[in-house]
């Protein structure tokens, strides 16, 4: 028994990380690397931050929440569900308008979205999903929302919007730059400059309900480390200082 305690101080632990869909590829890579060095197991529940927050509110067994906007984290904080000391805003991103790679639709500016050629626009549900909310904010800033609102097809999350455009079912969509980067079947028609677009922020925190608060904090710390930053950067995320 003494020998056990003399070695590693914690048994291998399984952490449930609820994270925004746009973080899928980067987190899977970072999680894999962390598993090797820590011995802990990282399980991901990836989807729309709004859906994940809702599941956490209903008692889903999450240890860490990594959201694509501050609002969802604020909602959980207001209900006293997060460990406020562990909260930090880690990443930023930018929006892009995408069409499928073989499309001959020409979009050179956001105003083209209101043009006659565009019948439908795929957005992660602008009522609740961060990517959709950012897109709607951007379109409102450009005074285009009233014109394009009726063409919007709301989908479950930003990767669903990407998939809709990839499959050709919907001819144009707005996703994060990092989502467009991992897809070979879409092309970026217009990139929203980060200065003029909505302020995008990805906060993360350990949840109060976590039964592995120490291990969770360790992983959160790793996510903020230089090794993780390299991976996030590789996928195109902006790592906040």
């Amino acid at each position: 028994m003494l020998a056990c305690f003399a070695g590693t101080t914690v048994w291998a632990v399984e952490l449930n990380v609820f994270a925004a869909a746009s973080l899928t590829d980067a987190l899977k890579e970072i999680g894999g690397a962390y598993e090797k060095q820590s011995g802990d197991k990282i399980s991901f529940n990836l989807g729309a931050s709004s859906l994940l927050a809702r599941q956490i509110e209903e008692g889903a067994p999450a240890d860490i929440f990594f959201s694509a906007d501050e609002a969802k984290m604020n909602g959980l904080a207001a209900k006293g569900l997060i460990s406020d000391a562990t909260r930090k805003s880690l990443l930023s991103n930018s929006l892009v308008i995408v069409t499928s790679s073989d499309s001959d639709l020409r979009i050179t500016s956001p105003a083209d979205l209101a043009g006659a050629k565009v019948r439908r626009i795929a957005l992660a549900d602008p009522k609740a999903v961060p990517a959709g909310i950012y897109s709607k904010t951007f379109l409102e800033q450009e005074k285009l929302w009233p014109a394009v609102e009726s063409r919007v097809v709301p989908v479950d999350n930003v990767r669903a919007a990407l998939a809709a455009v990839e499959s050709g079912n919907i001819e144009v969509g707005i996703v994060f730059k990092t989502d467009a980067a991992i897809s070979k079947k879409v092309k970026i028609a217009y990139e929203v400059p980060s200065q003029s677009g909505p302020k995008i922020s990805y906060p993360l925190a350990v949840l109060k309900q976590s039964r592995h608060a120490e291990s969770a904090s360790a992983f959160v710390k790793y996510l903020g480390s230089g090794d993780a930053a390299k991976v996030f950067d590789k996928y195109g995320f902006i790592v906040l200082k």
Partner: protein, 224 residues
């Protein structure tokens, strides 16, 4: 209940009703063939017809999306030649509901046809009635309660359809949102009161539809 909620209920009800009416001729024909005829490959037809009942609805929905989407065989045809969209419109909802409730209609009406005494049909034929006349004046009237029961069951199934609908038509408020997809989305968006009101409506509707379906199917026209 808000105006938007009544509108949602109305849309769900009418698209379910239209889908039931749409599948009726095909359902009756299929049920009659399965009830009264035998042919090599009959079991294959029976299996294919029952597939949407057993397959995960989202899987059926995925097949429909591939076929009815803008790049699909059917969807592409309608888009290129008539400029009509099917996927992500009420037409997609209609087809999803029709496909998902078809097996239930066929199963119920097949049982109803099988319960009609074949001797009565044979007697009619010996008296000179054509097959079609036998069907419309003997078989169908005697099976009518089972047929209505089957229609109500198919209607109830269409009302509650989710998986295929969400794949083919998505969730577009006011255009393709149905009772079930709206419950899912509004709950996830934290609109609990709205979701619970719709939940109550769903239970009431389903109860009514199934209860009346059972009532019809229990009553058999006596044939002496």
């Amino acid at each position: 209940m808000t105006g938007a909620e009544w509108q949602l209920l109305w849309f769900t009800a009418w698209v379910s009703a239209i889908s039931t009416i749409l599948i009726l001729p095909f359902g009756l024909a299929t049920a009659w063939l399965l009830a009264r005829h035998d042919w090599p490959g009959k079991s294959l037809v029976e299996t294919l017809v029952s597939l949407p009942l057993v397959m995960p609805p989202v899987a059926t929905g995925l097949i429909l999306l591939k076929v009815l989407g803008e790049r699909g065989a059917v969807g592409g045809f309608f888009y290129r030649h008539f400029n009509v969209d099917i996927a992500f419109t009420w037409r997609g909802v209609l087809i999803a509901l029709a496909v998902m409730s078809f097996p239930l209609l066929v199963r119920s009406t097949r049982v109803a046809f099988e319960q009609v005494n074949p001797r009565l049909e044979q007697i009619a034929r010996t008296l000179g009635a054509s097959n079609s006349r036998v069907f419309w004046t003997i078989t169908l009237p005697l099976a009518s309660h089972g047929v209505i029961g089957g229609m109500l069951l198919a209607f109830a199934r269409a009302l509650g359809e989710f998986g295929a609908t969400i794949m083919v038509a998505g969730y577009i408020t006011g255009k393709t949102a149905t009772l079930s997809t709206e419950i899912y989305h509004s709950f996830n968006n934290g609109e609990d009161a709205h979701a619970y009101r719709l939940l109550g409506l769903s239970v009431a509707l389903a109860f009514l539809a199934v209860w009346s379906s059972e009532w019809f199917m229990r009553r058999r026209t006596s044939a002496r």
